[in-house]
């Protein structure tokens, strides 16, 4: 098989055995523990889990943005056919913003208050050689602002972030991320900081842009509703691990992991307003003292003594991965 054929079959982003640890007083915190994940060309992958489950850190690790003294290791980390681990810092920097872009939860804190929108969008284009002059970068920035639906971009481009409304600011951040038309957009909680009415607009915008620019999107969220409506596949995170991965419809219709079932049960439903919301009892394990066995063991209603063993992510049907020792037996209960 030739190298290009190999690359063509390979997913856009391939993560295998990604582990991110932070040394703390008297030990280490494992924020991400052996995560396996793929993002295919053109798809929208939902990444769902509670805060602190390692969703964001996983993608910051991919981008090489984990701050000192965090340590990132991976068995394989490949993007668009290139080995990310083999890249030097300069090539990795080139990748950021140009091929892989991220947006953050709150545009108010992600955009620099001291610079105009013009500066913040054009600098990405100039840094990646997508514009030869400031004037050209400015024209391109106005175009991208128009694309994300900012009215009168010719004049608004010289405003500062605080002069925009929350929804518009979110669009500015998306425009900044998409300025170089990346292959992959990692949208980290894009709706959490927004009013409910604006949330749908922003999600629709991301969906439209994905089709228009032909990029892949990773949608990080803690909201299974957002996942159900906007994603093709989903990966469920729990305590630094992927516990379930598969097609969104299948995972939501037939959740294979008890944690996924717990998440679904704790969501209010419009179809059945009388159904009580059932919270998952207990708490996420302390990341500095993770058990060797199944991490959901203490909170799992279906746990057996036989669950007190380390559990790997395994494929129960093609494309469907679950990290549960009893996956086969319990799924059909």
């Amino acid at each position: 098989m030739t190298a290009s054929a190999e690359a063509a079959r390979e997913p856009l982003l391939l993560i295998e055995g990604l582990t991110t640890t932070f040394p703390v007083r008297g030990g280490t915190v494992t924020a991400v523990d052996g995560v396996d994940l793929v993002v295919h060309e053109g798809e929208c992958l939902g990444v769902v889990g509670e805060s602190g489950s390692g969703k964001s850190v996983t993608f910051l690790s991919v981008l090489g943005l984990v701050r000192h003294p965090g340590r990132v290791t991976a068995r394989r980390l490949r993007f668009a056919g290139r080995d990310l681990a083999a890249l030097d810092e300069a090539s990795r920097r080139d990748l950021r913003g140009r091929d892989i872009a991220i947006t953050m939860q709150d545009a108010l804190t992600a955009l620099n208050p001291a610079f105009t929108v013009a500066t913040q969008i054009t600098e990405v284009l100039l840094a990646h050689g997508r514009a030869r002059s400031r004037a050209e970068a400015r024209r391109a920035a106005i175009d991208i602002m128009r694309l994300v639906g900012i009215p009168a971009p010719e004049t608004r481009i010289d405003d500062y972030p605080h002069q925009f409304s929350g929804g518009m600011r979110q669009r500015i951040m998306i425009a900044t991320a998409l300025a170089c038309r990346p292959k992959l957009l990692v949208a980290d909680e894009p709706t959490t900081a927004l009013d409910v009415t604006i949330q749908a607009q922003v999600l629709d915008l991301i969906g439209d842009l994905r089709r228009e620019l032909g990029m892949s999107v990773v949608l990080i969220t803690h909201d299974l509703g957002v996942v159900a409506e906007n994603t093709d596949r989903v990966a469920v995170f729990y305590a630094g691990q992927v516990v379930e991965q598969g097609l969104t419809r299948e995972v939501i219709d037939r959740p294979a992991h008890p944690y996924t079932r717990g998440l679904l049960a704790s969501m209010p439903s419009f179809d059945d307003l009388d159904r009580p919301i059932r919270a998952i009892p207990g708490q996420v394990p302390d990341p500095a003292r993770l058990p060797a066995h199944c991490r959901f063991y203490d909170r799992c209603a279906e746990a057996r003594e036989s669950c007190r063993v380390p559990v790997d992510l395994r494929e129960i049907e093609p494309g469907r991965l679950v990290r549960c020792a009893r996956a086969g037996e319990v799924a059909d209960v």
Binding site: L60, L63, L65, R93, D94, L95, R96, G97, R98, A101, I102, M104, D106, T109, A110, L111, N112, P113, A114, F115, T116, E123, V124, A127, H128, Y160, H162, M173, T176, A177
Partner: protein, 335 residues
């Protein structure tokens, strides 16, 4: 910022200045010591002569009367005659002011040039050896008295090595015609580079003496605000855009981190313009600081009054300048 807001801020100076003049006047009136006795010294002046001098200087009038006369004249730009120099106070001040301003500005530039890069590097490489050295150094800089450091400089570079002149603003042979009063500028206008270097050599030690304690404080302020800014989301987002580390730190982080530095620099500059009496005395620097010390010893009331008023004005103006700089650094601030 609108012009009317600017005017409003400037008008706000008036009550401040009025308050300062009252306080200064009261303090002088309460200070023991008679300027006439000091001026006449041991000479055997007759009571008539003393009374004549007293009348001449307006000291035979009541304090209230003297204050109102002072205020009235001050509004018209007349601060009276310096008892000691027998010349208008304003002329005496104008003659000495450039020396102090020049020293202050050079110190400020030196302090910023030392403090900002050190503060940034110390924050970026937190807990590295350079951070530790900078932190310990700044602790020393803050705690050691400036004049003591000045004396050490004189002993080492002036006396021991003989590299730098230890007193005055410029050597006799290097003097040039005064245009601006700033010797570093005047020597260049006169087209005499040798004189410029001489003036620079004279200003180096006193400026360093003033700059180092200031740099120590500014470095600490820059370091701590930089540490805070480096944790901000917009710094992470800027990195995620693929910008170089230099641009992320030097522009995105620094512009936000400098805001507290500017405030402290303005306050420190204010106290330099007023409070460098000791350093000016140690280095024989003919500025306002020494002038005021002499004026106080001589009970030279008009001069003391005018200089304290001058301090008040500079201090308030510098704060005003700091406010203007905020607007430049942080567009969210509206005056």
């Amino acid at each position: 910022m609108s012009l009317s807001r600017l005017l409003e801020r400037l008008l706000g100076l008036i009550p401040v200045l009025l308050g300062v003049s009252v306080i200064v006047f009261l303090m002088i009136s309460l200070t023991p010591g008679d300027p006439v006795e000091i001026m006449l010294g041991d000479s055997r002046a007759t009571p008539e002569q003393i009374a004549a001098l007293r009348h001449d200087m307006g000291l035979d009038r009541s304090a209230m009367e003297r204050f109102l006369v002072f205020l009235w004249n001050a509004v018209h730009g007349d601060f009276g005659l310096s008892f000691f120099h027998r010349r208008p106070v304003i002329d005496v001040l104008a003659e000495r002011l450039p020396a102090t301003i020049e020293l202050t500005l050079v110190s400020l530039v030196l302090a910023l040039v030392i403090a900002i890069p050190l503060g940034v590097v110390a924050a970026v490489r937190k807990n590295s050896w350079i951070d530790r050295i900078a932190t310990v150094g700044s602790l020393l800089g803050v705690s050691l008295p400036g004049f003591w450091f000045g004396i050490l400089l004189i002993l080492f570079f002036g006396v021991h090595l003989g590299w730098l002149p230890i007193s005055g603003r410029i050597g006799y042979s290097s003097e040039v015609h005064s245009v601006t009063g700033f010797l570093l500028v005047d020597t260049l206008i006169a087209g005499r580079p040798a004189s410029f270097l001489d003036a620079a050599a004279h200003i180096l030690m006193p400026a360093l003496t003033l700059a180092l304690p200031m740099a120590a404080i500014l470095m600490r302020v820059t370091r701590s605000s930089m540490l805070e800014v480096l944790r901000a989301d917009y710094v992470l987002f800027a990195e995620a855009k693929g910008l170089t580390r230099a641009r992320v730190i030097g522009r995105h982080a620094l512009k936000n981190a400098l805001i507290p530095t500017v405030t402290v620099a303005a306050l420190e500059t204010g106290s330099l313009l007023g409070g460098n009496m000791i350093v000016e005395t140690v280095f024989g620097w003919p500025g306002i600081g020494r002038l005021v010390v002499e004026a106080i010893f001589n009970r030279n009331f008009p001069l003391v009054q005018a200089s304290v008023l001058l301090y008040a004005v500079t201090y308030v103006l510098l704060n005003f300048v700091a406010d203007l700089l905020y607007v430049l650094l942080n567009p969210r601030v509206r005056l």
